[in-house]
Symmetry: C2
Subunit: 239 residues, 2 copies
C-alpha cells in the first residue's frame, strides 16, 4: 500500500471533502468504471480512532451508511449474551463495511477501527436508489458481496489451528503486506476471535512457525521467511 495515512491523520478536518479521487487503487471511488457514481455518494469522514467509543456501526441500530475503507483496518463483530466479542471480519483498504446488512432494516454486527483508519461513508438510501440506474454500480456491489461470501466460506471450514493461522497470515499479507513483511494491525486476541481460536493458541501457532523458520515474529511485525511452506499448509483453505 503506497498510500500513507499520516498526513490525513494530522491534518485538521474542518470540512468533509468529497471522495472522488480516492488514492486507494482498490477503493471503488478510484475505479474508473464506478468513480462517477461514487463521487456523488461518498463523503470522507474524519479519521477514525481505534476503540469501542467510536463505533462505525452498531448491531441492532439502523444502518444509514455503508463505509469504504481508505486506510487502516476496521473490524466487525457481534457480542453474545455472555458479553464475549466475536470478530466476524476485518476490512482493509478497498473493502466495503456493512454489506451483510445492505437492504436490511438493521445492522447485524457492530464495527470499529482496529487502528487509526480513514473511511468514506456511502448513504444506503441514495446507494440503493442509484443502484437502479447504474448497472456498473450494481455489478460492483454484487462482486464485493460475493467476494465477502467467498472469504467467509473459505475460513468457515474445518481446519487445524496452524492451518487457520497460516491462512490468515497469507490473507493479511496479500491485503496489507509488502514483499515479505507484514505489520498486523490487530491483536492476537482479535485474530483468535476471528479464527475461532484462543489467544494462546494463536501465539503457539506463531511460535511453531518461528521454530520451523517459516517466519520471524517481532510482536506485530511478521517477516515471512518461507511463504511456500505456509501456503502448502494453508492450501485446503485456499484464501
Amino acid at each position: 500500500m503506497a498510500f500513507d495515512i499520516a498526513p490525513a491523520l494530522t491534518a485538521p478536518h474542518r470540512t468533509v471533502p468529497r471522495c472522488g479521487c480516492c488514492p486507494v487503487s482498490s477503493c471503488p471511488a478510484h475505479c474508473a468504471q464506478t468513480a462517477d457514481a461514487w463521487q456523488d455518494l461518498v463523503s470522507l469522514l474524519p479519521p477514525l480512532r481505534p476503540g469501542h467509543n467510536n463505533t462505525l456501526m452498531n448491531s441492532g441500530d439502523a444502518l444509514p451508511a455503508l463505509y469504504t475503507v481508505r486506510a487502516g483496518c476496521i473490524k466487525s463483530y457481534t457480542i453474545d449474551s455472555q458479553g464475549n466479542e466475536h470478530v466476524r471480519a476485518f476490512f482493509f483498504p478497498g473493502d466495503l463495511v456493512g454489506l451483510e446488512a445492505l437492504g436490511k432494516t438493521y445492522a447485524v454486527a457492530s464495527a470499529v477501527a482496529v487502528t487509526h483508519s480513514q473511511v468514506c461513508a456511502v448513504p444506503v438510501a441514495q446507494l440503493l436508489h442509484k443502484l437502479g440506474n447504474d448497472p456498473k454500480l450494481a455489478a460492483h456491489l454484487l462482486h464485493k458481496t460475493r467476494d465477502a461470501l467467498e472469504l467467509a466460506l473459505a475460513f468457515s471450514g474445518e481446519y487445524s489451528a496452524d492451518q487457520r493461522v497460516a491462512a490468515f497470515l497469507l490473507f493479511a499479507h496479500a491485503r496489507i503486506g509488502s514483499e515479505n513483511t507484514l505489520l498486523l494491525p490487530m491483536t492476537r486476541r482479535e485474530i483468535g476471535s476471528y479464527l475461532r481460536l484462543a489467544t494462546e493458541t494463536v501465539c503457539r501457532a506463531l511460535a511453531r512457525f518461528e521454530q520451523k523458520n517459516w517466519l520471524a515474529c517481532a510482536d506485530k511485525r511478521i517477516t515471512l521467511l518461507n511463504i511456500g511452506a505456509l501456503r502448502e499448509l494453508a492450501e485446503p483453505i485456499g484464501v
Copy 2:
C-alpha cells in the same frame, strides 16, 4: 413446503419447459416484482438424482449457469488435497446455487443433489447482461448474496457442538420443516462436515437432545418437542 415434486419426477422430460410460474414462494419467478425478468432467463432442468455422478457444478470448471432450487436439496462442497469433502452450504427451495462464483471465471465449489431435486438453470452471461437493465433483478441478486453471506458468517462463529447442531436443526426446520417435524434430507456425515464436527459428534448431540426430551429422533425424521430450549441454546448463533 406444499409443493410436491413427485409428478415432476415421474413425468417424461422431452422438452425443457420454461419456468415462469415457480411454485416456490421465495423463487424469483414466483415473485411478481422480478417474475418477468426471470421468465425469459430460467429453464427447468430434468430432475436431479443424488450422488456425485450427476454434478450441478464442478470446482474449477467454468460456470455457465446459476441454479435456483425448486424442490429437494442441493449441497455445495470442496475436496481438499487429502480427498476429504467439506460441505460449504445446503440449498433448499428458493435458494440460488453458485452465487459465490457469480462474475468469476471459474466455480470455486462443486454441487450435487442431496436428495431427488428439481432445479432451474439461469445462464450467467444473460443474467449479468440483464442485470444492467433491471434494477429490481440486481437488488434481488444482491439480497440473495447478502443473505448467503450472513448465514455463512453466523455459522462460522466459535460455538460448541450442541449449539451448532441445535442451530442447524432450527435453520433446517425454518426452511423445510412443518409444524414440529423435520425430515432431514442429508446424512449425519454431511451435517457434520457442514458444521465442522465428526459424524459421531452430531449423533451424540442428537442423543443428548433426545435424552433431555427436546426432540425425538427416528433416523432422518426429527420431531421437535422443545423448540424454545433449542432456540435458547442456539441463540448466540442466531440463524
